[in-house]
């Protein structure tokens, strides 16, 4: 099946889990990456259960935050 990852169309195995895609894409510090699937944000705890489908669009966003004092 084909999915789009960060704007790039890729062929992946049928029934690929989101967590497998994260490993396959070598996403660094995945615990600090927000994942969206078809424009919906996926809770970190749900990544293990999400099964990707043909035509899905996945984005990985690094958390962007900080602070002024500490």
């Amino acid at each position: 099946m084909f999915i789009t990852v960060a704007g790039e169309k890729k062929e992946v195995k049928d029934g690929l889990l989101l967590k497998e895609l994260i490993e396959q894409e070598k996403v660094q510090t995945p615990q600090y990456v927000t994942v969206s699937l078809n424009d919906e944000f996926i809770e970190t705890a749900d990544r293990d259960q999400v099964v990707l489908k043909d035509g899905d669009t996945v984005e990985f966003l690094y958390f962007m935050g900080g602070g002024a004092w500490h």
């Binding site: 704007g7 660094q28 510090t29 969206s36 958390f63 935050g65 900080g66 602070g67 002024a68 500490h70």
Partner: protein, 136 residues
Amino acid sequence: MITLKKSDYERMLAHARAGLPAEACGLIAGTIEDGSKIVRKVYLLTNTDHSNEHFTIDPKEHLSAIKDMRAAGLVPLGNWHSHPESPSRPSEEDRRLAYDPKASYMILSLMDAEPVLNSFHIEGDVSTKEDLVITD
């Protein structure tokens, strides 16, 4: 080296002043030519923490900005945020939460009458000031 247009700097500054007393934030996108980063677009986004000591970029706006960059043929270059009451240097929290070693982290200090903008490369606990050029 990283280059920023004066007009983009002024938009950034206006957004930071409008957001006071909270920190303001956003993203920078552009091109990389011969190893130098050229900022072509500055995104003025929402600090969902609404705090003068912390910022988190709204993930929905972050996603929209990434799509916009892609459509415009630009690459993400990093982010920027303001320090309303402290200097233009990464705080301990800024360093701890800088997860992307390829990114530039711009910090705009409003603590003095004259604003100060610096750009940093942050990897682990080490932050290095980048050569920032503001052009007309």
